[in-house]
Amino acid sequence: MRVYLRYAFKETFTNLWRNRMMTVAAVLTVAVSLSLVGSALLLKQSAAQASAQWQQGTRVTIWMQPNASQSEINSVKAQLASMPIVKDCQYFTQAQDYQQAKTLLPADEWSVLTPSATPSSFRCVPSVPTDAFTVQSTFTNQPGVYQVTAPEQQIRQMNHAIRILQIVFLALAAVLLLSATVLILNTIRMAIFSRRREVSVMKLVGATNWFIRVPFITEGFIEGLLGSAVAILAVTALHTWYPLHNEFALNASALVGTNTVVLVVGVVIGSVGSAIAIRRFLDV
């Protein structure tokens, strides 16, 4: 057994090295396609998580014109108070919004802002998240109202965009995974071809079929493994440095789950590619 393991190991790496250009091409294709798969999975998970978070504290913000008159503000206030679908409302004065802007905006942006140019705002929570739209449509274009924003809608739009992105990623990944499988198949085929003398001697002296096959299978397996390793690095990097990271924060277990999928898919691609090559081109 030990003799065999050493033999299979040696053969595998000789093959990988001998066809190193093909190996690199196969590994990179696996890596790129699996990075796409991983990113699509991460996107899906963070989108799900983000909308769950936003659902809890869905807010509608009514931004008043900075020069809105007190009566306009009062009328909005009274109207909000009379709406049963609005659960809770808080008024932020211009000074309060200015203070908040100071903490939220970069220095060069808030420095041009003055308290008198800052809009005051009503921050409201509707009793049912979907009522945010009713509130939005009621107050948009009212006198003194500058803008009504409902993050729910943004989230919905973003979810839509993310879904499209995800479909594009997965479609690309499917095509690339197919080409990765074909590339692995081809490297194994070349390895079989370059070792045809050895294979014929092995058959002649009575090496078992599995003895002959295994080095070629491990070769494909390792190509898949290397490809998924690169993809895992890419997915982890994306997760760590992607700008949406804070807002869409995912816990470590989501990353581990995604990387497990990437690893499994990589290994399966490698094994399937080499299995097909062996079936078709290795006559044992």
Binding site: M1, V3, Y4, Y7, R197, V201, V205, G206, N209, I212
Partner: protein, 232 residues
């Protein structure tokens, strides 16, 4: 050791290769297989290796019907059969030692066996001092001796040789024959297909002649052709 019972084999393109061949080869025998090209010699050897299966009839080796052998057992059958070919079939990027060692390594023999058996067999074929050479650095006769060493290193019960002297000059053919005789004396059954008339005539061993797939002659101490002396 080897028994053909009414064996017939026709290839897919319709060419009959063997027709109703019945033959017994005892353990330790030395048999020449002669006949024109296409007379079925190579098919005979391929059937013994189970690279082909007969359409009709049975082939027994060491008392076992090799037609009953499941596919995965075939490699184990081949471990008992050594093979030598006209074109040597050595691995060009491996040294003499490695070529012979390869035959043991790929059937899972431990390193200790390889290290004790290979020098011994290279000594037997007279190439101990060329162990580190590559095949292309050797003469044809030496390369064929490496091939014989590889075929015999696992001490098979049967040694098949398909025109082993076909590419060699008379002197080298002579040394290969001497080697095969020596192997035969250890009790190994040797079956050799050949066109080398002079060799067969001199050896005076059992001769089986095939003609268009049929056995036309089986002589215990035979010569290459019965029409010897008439030709040319």
């Amino acid at each position: 050791m080897i028994r053909f019972e009414n064996v017939s084999k026709t290839y897919k393109n319709g060419t009959p290769a063997l027709r109703n061949v019945t033959l017994d080869i005892e353990k330790g025998e030395f048999v020449f297989l002669v006949g024109a090209s296409g007379s079925g010699k190579t098919t005979f050897l391929r059937l013994l290796l189970r690279e082909e299966t007969p359409d009709v009839g049975r082939i027994l080796e060491a008392g076992r019907d090799i037609g009953d052998l499941p596919k995965w057992r075939v490699p184990y059958l081949r471990r008992n059969i050594g093979c030598v070919f006209q074109d040597f079939r050595l691995l060009p990027n491996k040294s003499v030692f490695e070529n012979v060692a390869f035959a043991l390594e790929v059937i899972g023999r431990p390193r200790s066996t390889v290290e004790s058996q290979v020098p011994q067999i290279l000594e037997l074929v007279g190439l101990a001092d060329k162990a580190k050479n590559l095949p292309h650095e050797l003469s044809g006769g030496e390369q064929q001796r490496v091939a014989v060493a590889r075929a015999f290193v696992n001490r098979p019960l049967i040694l098949l040789a398909d025109e082993p002297t076909g590419n060699l000059d008379p002197a080298n053919s002579e040394s290969i024959m001497a080697l095969l005789e020596r192997i035969n004396r250890t009790g190994t059954t040797v079956v050799m297909a050949t066109h080398d008339k002079a060799l067969v005539d001199r050896m005076r061993r059992r001769v089986v002649e095939l003609d268009r797939g049929e056995i036309v002659r089986d002589q215990v101490r035979g010569v290459y052709g019965i029409d010897e002396g008439v030709a040319i």
